[in-house]
């Protein structure tokens, strides 16, 4: 069984005078519970591909199925509902809601996106606060904690709805390398504990080594797929 199946994905951006081919004929499959990275230099199409997998954008051509759903055919509202049900997001700039505490940020998707009963909310949040080692920081506001802590809260927020897949576009770009490793390590541990598929992008060649499946992108084309066992063409 595959979680994601992408066939001949193409994405063109029409700018004022030129057409930018952000992705060309991209094919890949991703298994459940894998730990995947898209890697490539700036402008190679990492954000574009993650936006497509994240149902935030539509390809110009090609097929894309996630969790047995043809996500390209989804309407705007259906996309939002699909994201809320199946996907989790981690952002480069953490993007916590500044007026909510750490606890409330993690709670947000359970109330505003899904509709989880209070008791279960409490249980899930405490479990995730413990998992990201933020149990005693729950009442703090985002501006009161460090960048690494923010990203840990964001990981908890992404996981609290039990998504099949978590997408993280350059999650470590705003962190020092030590914290970056810790965050990637935490994501991997979460994969181990919850069985969630993680897909992150990075241009940091050292961080990439932490991934189990690596897709290399260059100028909008997939140039290689590497797995822990070895490289496939």
């Amino acid at each position: 069984m595959v979680l994601i199946k992408a066939q001949k994905i193409t994405k063109d951006y029409q700018t004022e005078d030129v057409v930018v081919h952000a992705l060309q004929d991209v094919d890949f499959e991703i298994e459940p519970a894998s730990f995947v990275s898209f890697v490539g230099p700036s402008g190679s199409g990492k954000t574009t591909i993650l936006n497509l997998i994240g149902c935030l954008d539509k390809p110009s051509a090609g097929n894309l199925r996630i969790a047995d759903t043809d996500v390209i055919g989804l309407e705007r509202k259906e996309s939002a509902a699909f994201r809320g049900k199946h996907l989790g997001f981690i952002f480069q700039d953490f993007n916590l809601i500044p007026v909510l505490t750490v606890y409330e940020n993690i709670e947000y998707p359970l109330i505003m996106v899904q509709n989880i009963a209070p008791q279960e909310r409490k249980e899930r949040i405490s479990r995730l606060l413990a998992a990201v080692d933020m149990t005693d920081q729950g009442q703090k506001y985002p501006h009161q904690i460090s960048g690494g802590q923010k990203q840990r809260v964001a990981i908890a927020r992404a996981l609290v709805t039990n998504p099949a897949l978590v997408l993280a576009d350059e999650p470590t770009a705003n962190l020092d390398s030590q914290t970056a490793y810790a965050v990637i390590g935490l994501m991997k541990k979460m994969r181990d504990d919850f069985g969630t598929t993680f897909i992150f992008s990075t241009h940091d060649t050292k961080i990439v080594g932490e991934a189990e499946v690596i897709f290399r992108l260059e100028d909008g084309r997939l140039t290689a797929k590497e797995t822990k066992e070895g490289t496939k063409p």
């Binding site: 994240g54 994201r83 997001f89 993007n95 500044p98 007026v99 998707p109 996106v113």
Partner: protein, 412 residues
Amino acid sequence: MRNLFKIAVRNLIRYKRRTLLTASLITIGVVFVLVFVSITGSFKAMIIGQVTDSMLGHLQIHRKGYVAAIDNLPLNLNMKTNAYAKIATVLSATPAVEAFSPRLKFGGMFSNFVETTNIRLNGVYPDQEFPTVPLLASRIAEGKKTLGRGEIMIPTLLAKGLKVKLGDTVVIVATNVDGSVNGKQFIVSGILESATGPGGRDGYIHIEDAAEVLRMPEAEVSEVAVRLKDFSRLSAAVKQLEGKVAGEVNKEGRPMLEVHSWEQLSPFFNIARMIDVMTFFIKIMLIAIVLISIMNVMIMAVYERIREIGTIAAIGTLPGKIRSMFIIEGFCLGVVGAIIGDLIGIAVVIIINLIGIRFDFGQQQGLLLKATLQPLDVLTVSIIVIVVAVAASLQPAVKASKMEPIEALRHV
């Protein structure tokens, strides 16, 4: 829902200064409107009370054509005794009517045996006239608060002009409907302060004395003044009575009687109407203030939070929720402004009453303005503010809900 309110309120607190500024603007607007509505409303009610309760009554019934010719007090347009009797029966049987008073009005000469001048007189039944126009008694500056046969109450200007005092004997001379002249002696029993409005400088005698002066075998009636139990239901009462007296027709089959509310009888009604128009425009100004200030704040709020909107949209918040989030923010701002405005407005009205503002209205001097605030006015103004606040947030909120998450997330 609770969460939407929590986020909205926290966002308002987050931009303290801006929220405070907008809320105070709304507050000032609300206070201004409430105080204005209170003062003008009380002023209006008071003046209407003066006009209706000292002379006019709430409404009057005349023979058709009498009001058009009222300046001449025509004797040939009076109701005959049996016509009035029918009206009296109708009025007695109408529950909305508190009291009514038939009047025989005529113009005549007033003499103190040395000098003579014009006078307009009302012949009344005192036990009906005083309950119908309750302020009449308070207008009696000197003398007793009743009126007996052979007695006359005269306006103070006349008393001063002709140097007439209480207890003096005077003569009233009048031309009757046939053109012959008759006179009768009266004892001055009361001196009346003038009232503003039609009939404010009339004298009063007993209706049977009036009939005697005019040589009528039975007292005819020029007008019937009516006081209602509930003044706020004036127009309904006028309609009802019009219906009830419409049956009285003349030989040509035309209705014989006319019912007029005080509004058609007193020029003050135009001033009252102008006050209403002014109040209306002040309310429009309040709406404009609320609309512009809230819209401005909400447009700023949406613009500042584009990335936040992108984030919550990306993680699956439905557009409707995002829209609600901003509408609720505007709603809360409106509610806060309205409540604080209401409280301060009420306080200002109380202070005005504590200070005690006096004013003169025509002949009546030193009237104390008792500013009252109707709960309905407070409610109306609050609802206007809140509804307008929500309306003003609508466009920014819809804009926020329609944002594409990737574009919003890219926004710096």
